[in-house]
Subunit: 342 residues, 2 copies
């Protein structure tokens, strides 16, 4: 079987703020045959994630953990799709899978323990898109980062940056369910409104209105911060450390302010880190892979019970991948950004 | 009973590199009487520690954890002394105690759960000075920092900065006992020689001979660093992070390069911290106070078995406290710096 497929590639390594011109949609033919041992998937939803930008750089610490992206070549990405042909018993035509697919119409994969792919239960009652957001890597990142890295106790004070984003919007809700006091920051008043009035944050503010982040955090956290879930790095991290309590924890999830500008870096006051005995820990959702089923089980129940709102921002068509991706860095999107294929 | 006592004070807050002129020796009379409930101790050994410099600043994150030092007033400090008069049953004349005393000839204390003071067993067979070094806060810091924060596994690679200092010299030896590969850096060739030829470090180097610390660490750790025991901060921390392995741990004990120059700060690459899932944790020996007896028991056995060498640098007389203290910042001393009173 051979299908016409298109894929999104970068034209060249991307070093600063990405623009749509950095991308191109290329045509390809994908060939599957019964003896290949492979599974052919027609992609239905594709995830766009800020960390992909690091993979597009010529050199980046990210290449230690995930392969760099090669200009002109296909780009793997988390997604959901439907099996259209299978050369192995575990997968049948019509099965819906989620896992590492690609920014393309069709993806071929060969099942192996190293390949992250799972088959949806026929009984699954939640929208498929949720498997890219609250039940996908965003949900896992929020869950593992808050509970395993942050380790909240009821009554603790939690600060979340990029709080209306795919991960932050879930972290804040999860922290409320843990009995914490939660404040988030975001970059527009509409986002702040969402956090306060729909997602149940105790408070939220627009960081663009706060020229002095240290004083802002002092106002929002008169009793200090116990856990900072960091998605942005830079001055926000410095300010959070300055307002942190003894034994505070920083779950270092992303430093988006440093992705687009390598010269922009946080200069933490290490005396604060020592004297307040702060722990700063970088983490990946994938370090907790063996516990995905446990985590998604809990999150699914919360969604069904109405305890967690899932915010998604869905673009249409493979050709919208470049604009969806670049929007992540202009502050335009709210919640989990993804692309739905026709 | 009233005794003539002298104490060392700072003349004013100390903001940069300390000099002997910042200090003065002042006369006082200390009065004890049977109804006071207090214990009068004649001090025998006094500890001088770099962190005291932060306490001498007008403003410092250290004041969150330990009281700031007031110009002209006595300065509390770890030490060992002999009880000369006691108004409580637990302590008798002639008992030898170790704990928080002061830079002074005589110290009065009132026993309470909040006062760190312990009585030496009559059977104690190790030199009293060791209770300020390997069996005092230096030993506790090294033990807790390496084992509880660093959590070494046999075969892991450990880097220690300020490796010939009071804490570093023990960390390296403890890490060897844990089956690790250990490299230390120090600031003179004599110190490097000590590390390699007396303390059993696998390798050591003079950081002053290495203009590019990142490349130096790449040479000394071709397989990367798993644990960095940081006593200095600054560029050394940046270089260690750049050479660290996945799941690496930084035990942040001190940032001596930043104590004397608040403008001098490490600018860690947080992308390294995320993608290598590094944990950076500030700690105090005192956070592990409840386990001091356990730790000192282990270290005492190691000393008796000749497995750990205790390096001490002892000055004589209370009037040598200022020069002993300032020497900590000029790189002159080797091992645990302390002052023996007449």
């Amino acid at each position: 079987m051979e299908v016409e497929s298109r894929y999104v590639a970068v034209r060249h390594h991307v070093e600063g703020l990405p623009s749509e011109d950095d991308f191109e949609v290329k045509a390809a033919r994908v060939r599957w045959w019964p003896e290949s041992g492979e599974v052919l998937v027609r992609n239905l939803y594709l995830s766009v994630d800020p960390y992909q930008l690091n993979r597009m750089k010529r050199r980046s610490a990210s290449h230690l953990a995930v392969d760099g992206i090669v200009p002109g070549e296909r780009i793997d990405a988390y997604g959901a799709g439907e099996v259209v042909a299978s050369a192995c018993e575990e997968y049948k035509e019509g099965d819906v899978v989620t896992g590492v697919l690609g920014w393309e119409d069709y993806t071929l994969f060969r099942p192996s323990p190293g390949v992250l792919m799972s088959k949806l239960a026929a009984s699954d009652d939640l929208p498929l898109s949720h498997h890219l957001s609250a039940l996908g890597t965003s949900g896992m990142t929020a869950y593992a980062g808050l509970y395993e890295v942050g380790r909240p106790e009821a009554g603790e004070k939690v600060f979340v940056s990029a709080a209306s984003g795919s991960v932050g919007s879930l972290v804040g809700q999860f922290a409320k369910l843990a009995g914490c006091y939660v404040v988030g920051c975001a970059g527009t008043n509409a986002k702040v409104d969402l956090l306060k009035n729909k997602l149940g944050f105790d408070d939220a503010f627009n960081y663009k209105d706060e020229p002095d982040m240290k004083s802002a955090l002092k106002r929002y956290f008169p009793d200090g911060i116990d856990i900072y879930f960091d998605n942005v790095g830079g001055e926000t991290l410095e300010a959070a450390l300055a307002n942190m309590n003894t034994y505070g924890r920083v779950a270092l999830c992303g430093v988006i302010s440093e992705y687009t500008d390598a010269g922009h870096r946080a200069v933490p006051d290490l005396l604060e880190v020592i004297y307040k005995r702060i722990t700063i820990r970088g983490f990946f959702a994938w370090d907790f892979l063996t516990r995905f089923a446990e985590f998604t089980g809990v999150i699914s129940d919360w969604i069904r019970q109405g305890k967690v709102q899932v915010i998604e921002d869905i673009s249409d068509g493979l050709e919208s991948v470049p604009s969806a991706f670049t929007a992540l860095f202009s502050g335009d999107n709210i919640g989990k950004k993804m692309v739905k294929l026709a």
